[in-house]
Amino acid sequence: MTQHRWKIFSALVSDTFQEARARWLFWGLFSLSTLLIAIFLFVLQVDLAAGAVSLMGIPTTARHIFRIEKFVRISYSWVSIALYIWGTFLAVFASAGLMPSVLEPGRISLLLSKPLTRTILLAGRFAGNLLIVAINHVYLVGCVWVIIGVKTHVWDPRFLLAIPISLFMFAVLLCVVMLTGVVFESAALSVMLPVAIMLISAILAQRDVVVRLLSSEWSRELWVALYWIVPKFYDLGLGMRRFILADQPADWWTLVWTSAAFGLAILSGAVLVFRKRDF
C-alpha cells in the first residue's frame, strides 16, 4: 500500500473510531465489559478472604489446588462463552449502523469525491469496526485473565484463545453486516441477518442427529451442504469452550477455513455491489 493510500486508510479507520465513540452503543459494549471485570474483582475479593484463612494456618491441600484450578477453568469458559455469544451479538448490534450512516446521500458523495477508491473506503470502515471490537475483547479477556492470574496464581494461556476466536467470528459476521448495509442501507437488517446466521448455524450443527431423521437423500445432502456453507458459529464456540474447560482439541482448521471462505465471499460481494452502485 502506498503512503498516500495508507494515510487515507488511517483517516477512515480513525473516522470510524470517532463515529463509534459518539454512539452510546459502543459505550454500552465497553460498560458491559467493565461490569463483568468488576464482578470478577468482587468475586475474587471473596476468594481472597478464603486465602487469608488459609494463610492463618489451614494447609493448602492438593484437593484445594484442584478446586482453584477448576474454578479458574469454569470462570474462563463462562467468560469466553459470554464474550463469544453476547459480546459478538452486541458488537454486531453496535456495528450495524456504521455502514448505512456513511451511505447517507450528502455524506457518501463527498467521500467519493476524494481521491480514494471505493474498496479502500469499505476496507477502512471494516477495519475500524474490527479494531474497536478487538480493543474491547482484549480489554475484557485481558483484565479477567490478569485478575484471576494475580489472585489465584493460575496463569492459563488457553483462555486468551477466546480473543482471536471471538474476533474471527465477529469479522465473519461483520462481512454480512457490510453487505447488508451496502445493499439495503438498513441498520435493522444488518443486525437481523448476522443474528439469523448465528441461530441457523446452531441448528445446522445438529446435522448428525438431523441427517438420521431426514427421509430423503437430497434433503440430507442439502442439510450437509448448508452446514458447510454457513459459518460455524456454534461449532467454533463449542470447540473453544471445550478446549478452555477440558483441553479437548477441536478441528480448528476446518471450522476456520470454511467460515473464513464464507466471510470472504460475502465481503467480495459487498465490495462488488459497493463499486457498482450509484450514490
Binding site: K7, E19, E104, T117, K276, D278
Partner: protein
C-alpha cells in the same frame, strides 16, 4: 495537456428502477467543455440532471454511456479527483466532528499530511470566518456556518477545480455575501469554479460561462454576454412605412398598427428613431430593455425544441 478543466463527451445516465425495470433518462448525450480558470454556471430546472451530471464527474454515479475527463484525465480514475474540491448539495457532515476535526479528516482524504493540515486548517477557518469556532462541535453550527465550513473543506488542499452544488442554498444574505466574497477572492487565482445552481442572479453576477440543462439535455451553452442578446432598447412606433420596417428589422404587432424595433445600443436606437420620423412615422415610446439570464433561462427551458449554442 488539455486546456479544459472539465470535458465530457456524449455523457449519458439512465436509471433503471430496481423491480419494474422502468427507465429514467437523467442525462442524455451531454458534451460540455469548461475551460481552465473559467467561472462556469450550470443551470436547469429541478430534475434537469444537474446533480447527476456533477456526480458523474466525481464518479459517485457511473455513466451509462459517454466519457468524462477532469484536466484530461478519465474521471473514473481516483487520481483525477485529487485537484478537485467539492461541496455537495444537502451535505450531511458527521455531527461528531468539531470544525477542526472535520477539516482534518477531509484534508487527510484529499492527500494533505500532518504539517500541511496544521498550517491549512487555521487558514481555512479564518478564510470562511469561523476562526473562533474550530473547537466547537458542528452540531451547534447554523446552516450558513456549515455551508462555509463545507467550502473550507473543499478548498483545504488548494484545488484547481472547485465544484459547488447549490453553494448558497438556504444560507442567509450575510452568509451568501461571505461565500461570494470567498469565491471572488479565488476567481483571480486561476481556480476553475463550477457552480451548479438555480439562483440565476448569483450565477449571472459571478460566472462568465453558463450551460442550461433541460430534461437531461444540454439546451444551451456559451459566454453569458454572448447569450443574453436582448439587452438594449425597444423603440415602439406607429404609421411606419413598410420600407422602413424592413430596413430597421422591426416587428409588427398583431394589430398591424404598432412596430417594435430592438436596438442593442443607444446610438442605434437614436438612428432608428430618426429613420422612423424620416419615413413619416411617429414614436410612441422608447424603453431600455435589460435582458437577463432569467429571461434567457425561462425562454430556453420553456421552448419545446431546439438546442441553442453560442458561437
Amino acid at each position: 495537456m488539455t486546456p479544459y478543466a472539465i470535458e465530457t463527451y456524449r455523457l449519458e445516465k439512465v436509471y433503471r428502477t430496481r423491480f419494474r425495470g422502468r427507465e429514467v433518462r437523467a442525462v442524455s448525450d451531454l458534451s460540455l467543455r469548461v475551460p481552465e480558470g473559467a467561472k462556469f454556471g450550470l443551470l436547469g430546472a429541478n430534475g434537469a440532471g444537474k446533480t447527476t451530471f456533477v456526480k458523474m464527474l466525481l464518479s459517485a454515479v457511473h455513466p451509462t454511456a459517454g466519457t468524462a475527463a477532469l484536466f484530461g484525465r478519465d474521471a473514473r480514475d481516483p487520481e483525477a479527483r485529487r485537484p478537485v474540491g467539492y461541496l455537495p448539495e444537502n451535505h450531511r457532515f458527521p455531527t461528531y466532528f468539531t470544525g477542526c476535526g472535520m477539516l482534518q479528516f477531509y484534508g487527510a482524504l484529499s492527500g494533505l499530511d500532518g504539517p500541511a493540515l496544521k498550517r491549512r486548517i487555521p487558514e481555512m477557518l479564518e478564510l470562511v470566518g469561523l476562526a473562533d469556532w474550530g473547537d466547537t462541535r458542528i452540531k451547534k453550527y447554523s446552516k450558513g456556518m456549515l455551508q462555509r465550513l463545507g467550502l473550507a473543506q473543499a478548498l483545504i488542499h488548494r484545488p484547481k477545480l472547485l465544484i459547488l452544488d447549490e453553494p448558497t442554498d438556504g444560507v442567509d444574505p450575510a452568509g451568501r455575501r461571505h461565500i461570494r466574497d470567498v469565491l471572488n477572492q479565488l476567481s483571480g487565482t486561476g481556480v476553475t469554479i463550477f457552480i451548479n445552481s438555480h439562483l440565476l442572479g448569483e450565477v449571472e453576477s459571478f460566472c462568465e460561462y453558463v450551460a442550461i440543462l433541460k430534461k437531461g439535455e444540454l439546451a444551451l451553452q456559451g459566454k453569458i454576454n454572448d447569450l443574453i442578446t436582448d439587452r438594449g432598447y425597444h423603440v415602439t412606433a406607429v404609421r411606419v412605412s413598410h420600407a422602413a420596417i424592413r430596413a430597421l428589422n422591426g416587428t409588427v404587432s398583431p394589430d398591424g398598427q404598432t412596430v417594435v424595433i430592438q436596438s442593442p445600443t443607444l446610438e442605434e436606437a437614436n438612428h432608428a428613431i430618426d429613420a422612423v420620423r424620416a419615413s413619416g412615422g411617429m414614436i410612441e415610446s422608447v424603453s431600455a430593455s435589460a435582458g437577463s439570464l432569467e429571461d434567457l433561462f425561462i425562454r430556453v427551458t420553456k421552448s419545446e425544441r431546439g438546442t441553442e449554442r453560442a458561437a
